[in-house]
Amino acid sequence: MDQNVENHERLEKLEGIGCSRKRREDPRFIQGKGNYVDDIKLPGMLFAVMVRSPYAHAKIKSIDTTKAKAHPGVHAVLTADDLKPLKLHWMPTLAGDVQAVLADGYVSFQNQEVAFVVADDRYVAADAAELVEVDYEELPVVVDPFKALLPDAPVIRPDLDGKNVGAHGARKHHNHIFNWQIGDKDKTDRAFSDAEVTVAQDMHYPRVHPCPLETCGSVASYDAIRGDLTVWITSQAPHVVRTVVGLLSSIPESKIRIISPDIGGGFGNKVGVYPGYVCAIVASIVLGRPVKWIESRSENLTTTAFARDYWMSGELAADKSGKIKALRVNVTADHGAFDACADPTKWPAGMFHVCTGSYDIPNAHVSVDGVYTNKFPGGVSYRCSFRVTEAVYLVERMIDVLAQKLNIDKAEIRKRNFIKYEQFPYLTPLGLEFDSGNYMPALEKVLEAVDYNALRAEQAQKRADPTCPTLMGIGITTFTEIVGAGPSKSCDILGIGMFDSCEIRVHPDGSAIARMGTISQGQGHQTTYAQIIASESGIAASQIAVEEGDTSTAPYGLGTYGSRSTPVAGAAVARASRKIREKARKIAAHLLEVSPDDLEFDLDQFKVKGDPAKAKTMKEIAWAAYNNVPDGMEMGLEAVDYYDPPNFTFPFGAYLCVVDVHKKTGETKVRRFYALDDCGTRINPMIIEGQIHGGLTEGFAVAMGQELPYDEQGNVLGGTLMDYFLPTSMETPHWETDFTVTPSPHHPIGAKGVAESPHVGSIPCFSNAMVDAFAHLGTTHFNMPYNSYRVWQHAKSLGL
């Protein structure tokens, strides 16, 4: 009994994998003690503001900075001409294109960066920015990617004149970026020719923005004496930023220090390198003083990295029983004025080829065309892995379209097409190997929890009643995500494989510090990484400090986005911990004078097999590591691991949503949302719950209101929080969550990643529910976002 109590106490103290350990980050955040980029204040620091173009497409005839420079308190006004001698007026993008740092003779989107004003404070800089006189000559604007491909469409990128081959192959038009295809086209076309039933649906995934609470910004500080450059920056990938800055500036990476302090949300918005960062660095080098540049909310919403803007045409071929034979997809991808997507180098449409979803589809073919328009650049993964939200949206919508055509229940058609448990690992027709999944029990658990049959009966009753003021819609998604980019054989950024890293040092007192190449933006890495180390090495989580985001101390890593921290860095953490444990085993054997093989690891100590009284705790071993190690062994107790994953991980989920839509006003109430997620091994259930709530809320935001529309003159109309929907607790529905556990077979602890599944899975679930509400009236699809006006318009078009 005493032994059990003691074991339980040890386990509790360890706070390892599976514990709902409270977030270590929260005490500082809830007390307002976080340290964000805009909190950085350095002696002599100056502040910068961008001068931006009001026009979406214009020639710059002249820029007169005289008045701005003469304004009291102004230190410098940079234009492209100032950057030219440094060859910094253009910079490479992560997608193999180039982007103007400051407009070089023309602007190609509204709010494009034209000049950079550096002054004593942000107010003086803002005043002086208004004194920069730019003479523009307006040019015709194109914001529609289909019109951009017409023969006589305006040339958006004169700098690419004559370049018929881009970073991803041939360009077929002056506004064309790439065509990317995957899958067996002939076999897929044949399957369609032979099919008993085919369906087709066009859909637009609107241009949205991750809209993190903290906008982007940086503080650059160049020390001319030492030749060191330090940049505090809101970056999800600080090491990648260091490499880019090194490439641009020719300063060796050893002289560059990038620090990502606390970050107020990223969601993909903070992966890239933006003109403001480059200008702040140049200004600091030129002026010899630190320079801070922080975006306004509208600058964030209209210039730094949008997401999606995918025009998708999906087709399914099936037999009469609803068994799918083939999927065919054509996408026109609006990338804006510069191709600044954040995707692995080889995949210009990211992992869109996960679009066969949770279904056993034998044939598939995908073709994606990237197009330039007069809109701001981006194409990042907003709370998802590269283009996975788009892919999941497509297949989850298409299967509903097929169900409606065949009059098969939307849960039943999914069951008929699921990849079966015994088929894993499953090779998709588009070349991905799904590691593990168990879809049927997940869906059945959800259907039972919500009493699906009763919901359908209620819906039928309401449809039969013409006096019912509302339409009831039931949406289902059974999605599979692909995360954890990724294996270096297929994934790299700027030629660097997408591994990640962990370094652990155990101190003489048995406490430890761990550093990673990732960077938390709210995911709770300081909490969860320590739990992995605790379980794997026996050091209590409370004794472990986790540090990220400083390139001068952390090992090189590719950063945090695409739910890659747990699948990639989490694996490095587990493996580094195991290296610590194995060295500790040898030291314990030496101390206990037995063979290492005679020891067994038990939570936080090594015990001699068959003689458990003889044991050494990790604390004792750590002390010995600095004074009493076996002959020939190095002193100290530390380990480094760089983990190159053998495959991606494939979290999945089954979601169900019930909506009530008012026929006359279009007002929609989300009555119920039930989300079951399977992310493999669960490291911290409380953090998982929080991540799922966050992801569902952002999914709700996208489906029900977020959009960055443009008018024909290229004005972006969603650039304030008055126009751009950011749900608060007032609008957000109640979430019900559930889980199953299907570990990843190739991940060291079986974990798959979770933060993005609820976003990816919920958006099509809302769409499916909204379409389902109108399905009996013949609706197979209508586009997001489902604000009351749009829904009312749709209801009206049906004569309601």
Binding site: V134, E138, N715
Partner: protein, 199 residues
Amino acid sequence: MKVELDKSLTLPVAASTGWSLVENIEGMASCMPGAKITERVDATHYKGTITVKLGPATVSFKGELEVVAIDPVARTIHVIGKGADTGGGSGASLDLNAVVKEIGPDTCELSGVSVVNVTGKVAAFGSRLMGTVTDQLLKIFFDNVLAKAQELQASAPTAEVTPARAAAPVVEAKFNGLAFVWTIVKDFIASLFGRPKTG
């Protein structure tokens, strides 16, 4: 954003008098609340400014006007303009075709078709207000043109000059901002209930 305006106004003056109003660019500009011609570059080129209050923000545009075509016989005029706000955040362009048609000996109709393109902050932030604000500006503009026309009519040689002048409404050089905002608010509230806009 693009605003297309197609408006007409009946003036209680002879077509020739109406035309004399239209061809006087400075005079016409002074009828537009917040607008003025600052420089006459030559017979067909002008420089001017216009200050517009859009909700909580005030924007001042500085620009150029060009009379592309003018036909005193047919009484038509084609004017194009282009400007930018003084802070550099917005741009605007105008393409206006106006004609004065004779209706009777003492009555004519002034009609104008114009396309206004607005870009930048004004379009991005003020799009919801643009329609109502434009309607209100035009309403005041027409009131002012009408007043000027009446003034011209009154000062015609056949009329009794002094009393008529006294009777003619004074053209407001500065329009009443508060009343203007109130009309916009009233229109907005009316639009919520689906009633047609006033003015």
